[in-house]
Symmetry: C2
Subunit: 169 residues, 2 copies
């Protein structure tokens, strides 16, 4: 499969492979039209050609590029990394492959770290929830666990780090 480059066709030139409205493109890629417009605004997608009335028109190149973007996003790559990967895909030299490998490895390491933290967190939450409580909140183990960090309620202080990277996939 041809990996899409990011150069826009001259506005108005017909796209090989049929023309799509923004809604068509959105449907085919599992994206919302608003998101497609936003991708154009921030330069992830080249500006679309327009109809006489101003509606955006897309072709096969946009479709492929947007597929790539969405797929990379599903893997949790941030948009900056997706941009890099797209640039690498567009360059015909061999070094790009190693760079892509590095980006993917970094992502894998992140995911593994996240998994480790979430597992600790799950254990603590399960313990908290498992300890049934009854009566007034003064005796509630859940509320106590949240109020006291230092009284033996926590298995591990490591859960603290779970919020390190708030935007996570």
């Amino acid at each position: 499969m041809a990996i899409p480059h990011h150069l826009p066709r001259p506005a108005g030139a017909p796209e090989p492979g049929g023309s799509l409205s923004i809604g068509d493109l959105a449907r085919r890629t599992g994206t919302k039209a608003t998101t497609v417009r936003w991708y154009e605004e921030v330069g992830m997608l080249p500006p679309a050609a327009r109809t006489a009335g101003g509606h955006r028109v897309y072709g096969a190149a946009h479709l492929a590029r947007l597929d790539f973007i969405r797929h990379a996003r599903e893997f949790g790559f941030p948009l900056g990394a997706v941009r890099e990967l797209l640039d690498l895909a567009a360059r015909p030299d061999g070094a790009s492959c190693e760079a892509a490998h590095g980006i993917a490895c970094a992502r894998l390491a992140e995911v593994e770290e996240k998994l480790r933290r979430l597992e600790v967190l799950r254990a603590e939450l399960a313990r908290m929830v498992g300890n049934g409580c009854r009566g007034a909140p003064a005796d509630c183990r859940i509320l106590h666990a949240l109020a006291d960090h230092d009284h033996g309620h926590c298995l591990d202080a490591g859960h603290a780090a779970v919020l390190d990277r708030p935007a996570e996939g």
Copy 2:
């Protein structure tokens, strides 16, 4: 341990348990001063008393409340849930305990779901990274895997859902 309530003391009244500057409070709770101010702004913390010069002054009640907030955040409860938990902790009736249990259970379910998704994602990323590639990007397996969703590169389409809840702990 007394669970903190959210009513501010009258401005200027001395706090039992010593007075803290915003920096002291931040240091003791592992928060940034900017975050403490922001918590006040959005109503998570009652307004602090002030010195004649306008500096914020905190006491034991603020410290306990902020500890509770930070601890709950470490568990990944969103601020809305933290607010609910604080309200529950402040109410002396027994029903609040069940409500707290419900909130914690919901969080546990989220974490477990997230773990499931991340495990699928890890497997796919590992496969992608493990398949070494050499030469031009046209042959790079990583870039191919991202470009082609439908050509057998994916173990599971489920990784798509990993981005469902972007703010995650």
